[in-house]
């Protein structure tokens, strides 16, 4: 892993809670679906480790931001689904607002312009 990748992974990991809440916003999902949604969004190279995600679910549930329930699958293992709560939606909204504000600040401090981003890609 290069230094750049490590930097990106760190940034992503710092927002795991918000990312999980965002993934759950549309519908209830179980662990592997959440993991897959994040993996697909990152293109598969900068993923969040599964163990990190399990720790995140436990913390979010303890804080009342998500609720869990067991699915009614008859084959294989029963899946534990997560549902975002009203508290979770409120926290998600405020975190997104904070992120948008911070992103603007960092963009301006790092003197990022859209054209530069395109060149380095």
């Amino acid at each position: 892993m290069t230094n750049d990748d490590a930097f990106a992974a760190d940034l992503l990991r710092g927002h795991t809670d918000t990312i999980v809440l965002g993934v759950l916003r549309r519908r209830d999902r179980y662990g592997f679906e959440i993991y897959k949604a994040i993996r697909d969004a990152t293109g598969g190279d900068r993923e969040i480790k599964e163990a990190t995600l399990y720790a995140t679910y436990r913390r979010l549930e303890k804080d009342g931001l998500v609720e869990s329930y067991w699915g009614d699958e008859t084959q294989g293992g029963r899946r534990k689904y997560y549902r975002i709560t009203d508290a979770g939606r409120a926290v998600y909204k405020s975190k997104v607002a904070a992120w948008v504000a911070t992103r603007a600040i960092i963009d301006s401090l790092l003197d990022v312009k859209d054209t530069i981003v395109k060149e380095t890609k």
Binding site: K36, A51, Y54, K62, G77, D86
Partner: protein, 292 residues
């Protein structure tokens, strides 16, 4: 069906004390691993490799369970936490609520006067007053639920509006019923009232059944840290209190009936007052009395 994964999962949990919490986590991980193994096999990986890769991606499960015993964090006191997380109400919200409540109160008074015949108000006028009450209080409800408070997050706009509609609909149905009571020849009023009432109750029931937590994390933790009261610690004493309650009130109503038929109905409240006093006394003794 790949059975390798179950063996590897058992290995990953080897030596972990199987508390209900750990068992729960293990079953959750099992279902997710099975889904991941199916995905890998579908992409052409051999079953044994798929199982090993899925387990390797998982990482160390023991680290997850280390935080489980919850080494009773700083038992910060409730008032201090409430003060630190304090959210002041928005002045505009307070003004809106007070003004709308006053408007609704005036409309209710006029409506009651119209219904009891002290004021001569037409059916249309009474419906207008009812609409004012319903809209004002429905708005106050939705508005209040969308406010962030010290202990609660704001309700999402859609659900808050739903609660407002339910409240407004119920009040509008009551107003229609009241108007019908004063103008008995307008039968359509009671039909619309019934439909509106059923729809509003249905909406409120749906909102109630699908409700989720909106308490803030600090409130939940503070509630969790509270010492349980005696009825929670000792369900048998709570059950005894329930039995005593039934006994006390059966005797009270029997005494009230006896008083009504012997010395007169105006003595009945005495029996009720004594019954209530005895009931409170028993509650105080059983809930807060000395531990035996």
């Amino acid at each position: 069906m790949n059975t390798e994964i179950h063996r590897l999962l058992d290995e990953a949990f080897a030596g972990v004390e199987m508390t209900p919490d750990a068992q729960d986590l293990k079953e959750e991980i099992r279902a997710n691993l099975i889904a991941r193994v199916d995905e890998l096999e579908a992409s052409g990986v051999s079953p044994a490799d798929a199982a090993r890769r899925a387990i390797a991606e998982l990482g160390d499960v023991r680290a997850l369970l280390d935080d489980a015993p919850e080494a009773a964090p700083v038992r910060a006191d409730y008032t201090a936490l409430a003060l630190r997380n304090r959210v002041r109400p928005r002045p505009a919200f307070v003004v809106r609520t007070v003004v709308l409540s006053l408007v609704a109160a005036v409309a209710v008074v006029l409506f009651v006067l119209g219904k009891s015949g002290f004021l001569d108000i037409s059916a249309a006028g009474m419906l207008g007053l009812g609409a004012v009450v319903a809209v004002a209080l429905g708005f106050v409800t939705a508005d209040a639920l969308q406010q962030e408070t010290t202990t609660n997050h704001p309700l999402p706009a859609g659900r808050a509006i739903g609660f407002g509609l339910g409240t407004g609909g119920t009040l509008a149905a009551l107003a229609l019923g009241g108007t019908f009571a004063a103008h008995l020849d307008d039968l359509w009023l009671v039909v619309v009232a019934a439909v509106l009432l059923v729809a509003s109750i249905g909406l409120l029931a749906w909102l109630g059944a699908t409700t989720t937590n909106r308490h803030k994390a600090w409130t939940r933790q503070a509630h969790g840290a509270e010492a349980p009261n005696r009825f929670e610690e000792d369900p048998a004493s709570a059950a005894r209190f329930g039995v005593y309650t039934v006994g006390i009130w059966v005797l009270t109503f029997a005494a009230a009936a006896v008083l009504i038929f012997t010395v007169g109905w105006w003595w009945a409240p005495i029996a009720l007052a004594v019954g209530l006093a005895v009931w409170m006394f028993v509650l105080g003794r059983m809930l807060f009395g000395h531990k035996s």
